[in-house]
Amino acid sequence: MSNRATNPRVMISAAIAAALLFSAITPEAFAKNKMEPVPQWALDAAKIPTPKAARDAKAVMLFDEYVITLDEQNHAVERERSAVRILKQQGRQYAQCAVDYDVDEKLNYFRSWTLTSEGKQFQAMQSDFTDRGAYTGAVMQFTERFRVVKPPASDPGSVVVCETEKHLRPYMNEEEWNIQSSIPIVQEALELALPPGGHYAESWRKYHPVKPIETGNNHLRWEIKDMPALDLEDVNGAPPWGALAARMSIKWGDAAVKGADNQWRALGLWQQQLEQHRADPTPEITAKTQQLIAGAPDLYTKLSRITTYIQKNVRYFVVMRGIGGWQAHYAGDIFRNRYGDCKDKTTLLIAMLQAAGIRGYYFHVDSRRGIIDPAAPSLYGNHMITAIELPDGEDDPQLMARVKAVNGKTLLIFDPTDEETPVGLIRAQLQGAWGNIANGADSQVLQMPVLSPEAAGRVRKGSFTLAPDGSLTGDISETFIGDDAMSERMFIKESDSKEIHDALEDRLGKDLTNLKFKGFKFAQTDDLTKPLKLDLHVSDSNYAHTAGALLLVRPRVLGSHVRTMTDIMQGKPRTYAIELGHAAHFRDSFDIAIPAGYVVDETPDPVDVNFDFASYKSSVFVKGNLLHYEREFVIKDVEISAGEASNFRKLQSTIMNDERSTAVLKKP
């Protein structure tokens, strides 16, 4: 189906890859150069009227049908038929159809026709199809590809129909039916043709379960009509699209068990069986682990040494082919080669933990919060991380990212692919998200914790001197922890010194228009267990402005917590949750020495607002010849409900007003 949860991964030579790719497309898959008649199903679909509710849409999906046919080995062939009517000029993009294929996923055919509003018919010819790799990125080697058609005459009023058929991966027992799109869908259906004695299980997300119609012996059909669009184009700060969209997961074979808990357990068992013996430590791994943990006084130190070793020494590199999209390499190979993807890094970590007498487990997650839903078991997800079993009574406060499993064990969640987040913490996108632990009969879906605001944030201090001509000179020191240190460290790692200089200059220049950037220095960049420090030296030749006899100064010299959320600020009705980023505590403190001959005539009023999800306070006062500004901003959660939109608006308005507030100086 179009939005896949799984991707095959392979490492092969270019010559073999070419041969395999060629074999993945049958001659039938290539479009003909002679027009074929439009099939009857397409003619019927094109007659479906546009519903009233869809008339403002850019395009409407009139018909979308999947038929999955399983043979006695549970190998599946999937056919898709779709018809889209273009309603507006800007809806032309919806005319394109695409299908993915791979070495294990042979494409049988792909055809497309256009039926115009004037009654003309066109068929996409070979030159209208293109093939491209499914992913980009210098750290990936893969064989999966997309075949895309750009249909002719896809103008407003036209109906574009597409028909594909392909073999699904023989080792998978699940497909995701994405029943919602960014345009409305009038009619959609999924048919499942099971072999004799075959059985299935289903799970639904963001949609009430639909009962299938039995259209034949072991032949089931689910139908849905008038599915509204999920269009987030003009929605700021929404959760990821996939976290809000309706979908259904259909399972067969061993995955087809009843009940959510049982389905999660079956998925965990499948994953565990797939990785069996992959994480067994070799003598070399054991020796290295013993060397790393020698003399470590406590569990935190042991974990820190092992995880830091993997973060710093195992390069992230993805090789994707077939089952390799799900199955890791052997720990010994990963250790020897010093590279791997997320599963590989987890595998090596589990092996090293085992060598240190600590149990670790595969924990399947998605890097976007909200995609995995505990009520809808499926293999949906794009990332593998590690759950580390903590001994009973282990209460080291540095080990914050803990969850309690149903078997009573406490697990520490850690992502070995994240090279900038130390053990004990997890980055914001994982906080509050769900994942499935592969632990035999104890496999289960678990929610990762939202960390305390004190686990992340920044302290910024500035000391400045203002001259009578309005120029400002000063020094700033910043200290970052948690997720804020992680993003800064990533920025440092991915940039050379000029890029860092330019990016900092750009950042400072947003508040200091006539900036002269005199220099910067980062400290404690490598040791993830310590806060990251940054010193900046700046001047601005025109910071304060005269207005008649007055000198106007903005006490908040730099930094902003304002977010561009136009729809919320304009009070538009809100349906979706609002993403806050990450829980954190930010503190700013600035002293500005005012020029001789001036006194402060007026300062902005103090600000203090407090909501369940955040608080903000600031104050400006005069200490001798210093104009002192300080503020604290605490974000307490990662996401809030749509019902909090008006409070979020109040918070943002307060911050915006505070950040532009002005102190008035005058000559006495």
Binding site: Q89, Q90, G509, T513, A547, T564, D605, M656, S661
Partner: protein
């Protein structure tokens, strides 16, 4: 390359004058002592900017065009101000001036107990990136096209509010290349700010980079200034109707 009576040959497309690409922004705004505003804005364009919107209108319908135009306005109106296109005039006539008629509402500036401080340049008050310093420039700076932008913002002041301080009228010239002008005019109950920027060149040569940067730094400094309005009646009293 072009075909002429003498056969094929090289030709240079004619340069444009800044007057060929003109934008005029006229705003009329009613403001209260807390900085709440309502008003209207008309943006009239000829040349390249009009062409861009007309070309866009060929690919999307008018409702979508209004949405995109609103989005472009978000970058130029002050934080806290909403701008929504009511209608377009001359959209389908390439020989006419393209006019967008826009409604404004929201809050502008920042207030203290005695004063309301407004951004001097209404359309330039958003936080933006400064013109970074580069010691050596190897390539010309391409401005796209020469252009003239004229702005006029009239604030209609309520009773009890008067201008206490305003930036001095100023001009920033860059001889032979560009000019910037800023002026405030105060009449009873009305404060009008006019701003003009003309760039009469398309390419600035590498050796002109420092002059170019100096010009835009001076423009940014002038645009950052504030208007100070004194409130003689406390906002609370006005709210109570005293």
């Amino acid at each position: 390359m072009r075909q002429s009576a003498e056969g094929p040959g090289y030709a240079v497309t004619p340069p444009q004058a800044y007057s060929d690409n003109a934008t005029k922004r006229d705003a009329s705004i009613a403001i209260d002592v807390r900085g709440h505003i309502t008003g209207s804005l008309r943006i009239m364009t000829t040349g390249q900017r009009a062409l861009k919107w007309r070309q866009r209108a060929l690919r999307i319908d008018e409702a979508e065009l209004k949405k995109e135009y609103d989005k472009s306005l978000e970058a130029i109106v002050p934080d806290g101000v909403e701008a929504h296109v009511d209608h377009f005039l001359g959209l389908s006539d390439p020989n006419a001036i393209l006019m967008a008629v826009i409604n404004l509402k929201g809050t502008v500036g920042t207030s203290t107990s005695k004063r309301l401080l407004l951004p001097a340049a209404f359309f330039e008050s958003r936080q933006h990136t400064s013109f970074v310093s580069t010691e050596k420039r190897h390539e010309s700076v391409d401005m796209g096209y020469p252009e003239r932008v004229d702005e006029s913002v009239s604030y209609h002041l309520p009773e009890g509010m008067a201008v206490e301080g305003a930036p001095e009228d100023s001009q920033v010239p860059w001889q032979g290349h560009a000019i910037y002008g800023f002026k405030t005019t105060t009449r009873p109950e009305t404060l009008t700010v006019t701003r003009q920027i003309v760039t009469a060149f398309t390419l600035a040569k590498p050796q002109e980079y420092q002059d170019l940067r100096r010009f835009y730094q001076n423009v940014a400094t002038a645009d950052e200034q504030q208007l100070v309005l004194k409130i003689s009646t406390a906002p609370e009293q006005l709210a109570r109707g005293n």
